[in-house]
């Protein structure tokens, strides 16, 4: 009768170990290497402008940093998807089925491994923000919220990569989604529904906070979708429900408050 809690404890330990193992592999994978390159390219263009031009500001010229980290998030999705498809690619699914750690534990390890790219993005963006604050000017509240949203977006797309691999185990799907995210643009005429775009830049701290909650909700939904593939567990279903509520409430708040008349806070 005591095997239940013991098994749960052992599963959590194995999941953590798998998350650390997969996370470390992710950090040095070709996908993340490309992601670092994109982030450094965007940051480098901004720093070069700051060194060679006068009146450079984070608000007007920092978009290259934002685009660099947007690409970081996209390549994180490609990398997590590639990592999650490893078993299928190498033909080791059946061998791993024979291990004591079941598929739920392995999926959990993959989802938790996205914490590593998230930490990498947080450290890199933290350094860029700190350097900007010391060198140029302290970013405003809205700009800081945009930085936080970009960090969360890395985790959102990381979990999306795992979810895609578990439900559509095809190596061409993640690149297509990456391409779609690459070419998608917010339409020029502002409208309330534009808040659904992942990096919609909202002009008030309050709404930007709700947009961060929206991204966190999406992250929970993608993580839940990835986990329920191998059998619904209470915490996976709870994550899905909490994520759905967060997305629903945040979208309701943002769409009703972002535009008043013809003026929108983008």
């Amino acid at each position: 009768m005591s095997s239940g809690p013991g098994y749960a404890y052992s599963s959590r330990r194995v999941m953590r170990a798998l998350a650390n193992f997969n996370g470390r592999k992710l950090l040095v994978s070709w996908g993340l290497m490309t992601a670092y390159g994109m982030a450094l390219l965007g940051t480098g263009i901004f720093l070069a402008a700051a060194m060679t031009q006068d009146d450079v500001s984070f608000g007007d010229d920092g978009w290259t940093v934002a685009v660099g980290f947007y690409m970081f998030a996209i390549f994180t999705m490609v990398a997590t998807n590639y990592a999650a498809l490893r078993d299928r690619r190498e033909g080791t699914s059946e061998q791993h089925e024979s291990l004591p750690a079941d598929s739920r534990v392995r999926s959990g390890g993959l989802v938790l491994a996205t914490a590593w790219p998230f930490i990498a993005a947080t450290v890199l963006l933290g350094v860029v923000t700190a350097v900007t604050a010391v060198w140029l000017v302290v970013p405003s509240g809205v700009q800081l919220m945009a930085v936080i949203q970009t960090m969360v977006f890395v985790a959102t797309l990381g979990t999306l990569g795992v979810a895609l691999a578990t439900w559509v185990p095809n190596p061409f799907v993640a690149p297509v989604v990456a391409f779609a995210l690459f070419i998608v643009q917010t339409p020029e005429a502002p409208a309330g529904w534009h808040v659904v775009f992942p990096l919609a830049h909202l002009g008030s701290v309050y709404l930007a906070g709700w947009h961060t909650i929206y991204l966190l909700g999406l992250t929970l939904i993608f993580a839940g979708i990835a986990l329920v593939r191998s059998g619904a567990r209470r915490w996976a279903v709870a994550g899905l429900l909490v994520g759905s509520v967060a997305v629903g409430v945040s979208l309701a708040v943002m769409t009703t408050q972002v535009c008043s008349g013809s003026t929108c806070l983008f």
């Binding site: 070709w30 996908g31 490309t34 390159g37 994109m38 390219l41 263009i45 690409m71 390549f75 490609v78 590639y82 690619r89 095809n170 190596p171 061409f172 799907v173 690149p175 297509v176 990456a178 391409f179 690459f182 070419i183």
Partner: protein
């Protein structure tokens, strides 16, 4: 033979053209060209790469058949999509065709080189490399862009030359990466 990637790309391209028909022919044609070129790289993916490596049929021979089976139908499908959109300028159509050729060449070259290092599974790295190449190209000033998606100094001829150069580089990469691995080892042993 890997048909699913070109099939997915064709399906999405048809939807894209149907949705955007009549507005922005160039942008839609470029998007469908990138999508279909990314899928062509999967044609060289070969799960039996190691098993058939010692067979009398060389790597180049096997890859040549895969390219011949996948590339012509994909090119015909893409041209049909462009024709469906109804481009107004024939010069622009030929430049778009050169861009498609360049992207397909690059896709095959990257897939060939990556497949040689990953036991015949180079397809998944094609799309990220094409995207990175396009981003890096766009980050350069127009006169230095090797893969221009818009106007560059020199007009149509500059666009032709650059995209056909990309195609040639891609094909050369494919040919170099398709040398017989076993033959190389014998020469080294001498």
């Amino acid at each position: 033979m890997v048909w699913w990637a070109p099939a997915i790309a064709l399906g999405l391209s048809v939807i894209l053209v149907a949705v955007r028909r009549g507005e922005g022919v160039t942008l839609t044609a470029q998007a469908t060209a990138i999508l279909m070129a990314m899928s062509v790289g999967f044609a060289l993916d070969d799960p039996s790469y190691e098993l058939v490596a010692p067979s009398p049929s060389s790597l180049l021979h096997r890859r040549r058949w895969r390219v011949l089976v996948i590339v012509p139908p994909t090119a015909v499908a893409w041209m049909a999509l462009v024709w469906w959109q109804g481009p107004s300028d024939s010069e622009e159509t030929w430049v778009l065709a050169a861009m498609f050729a360049g992207l397909v060449g690059l896709s095959l070259g990257v897939a060939g080189a990556a497949g040689r290092r990953s036991r015949g599974r180079g397809g998944p790295v094609v799309a990220p490399i094409i995207l990175v190449a396009l981003i890096l190209s766009s980050a350069l000033p127009p006169r230095w862009r090797p893969m221009p998606m818009g106007d560059v100094p020199g007009g149509w001829s500059a666009l032709y030359i650059r995209w056909w150069s990309v195609a040639v580089v891609g094909v050369l990469m494919l040919l170099v990466s398709s040398r017989d691995p076993a033959r190389r080892r014998v020469l080294r042993a001498r």
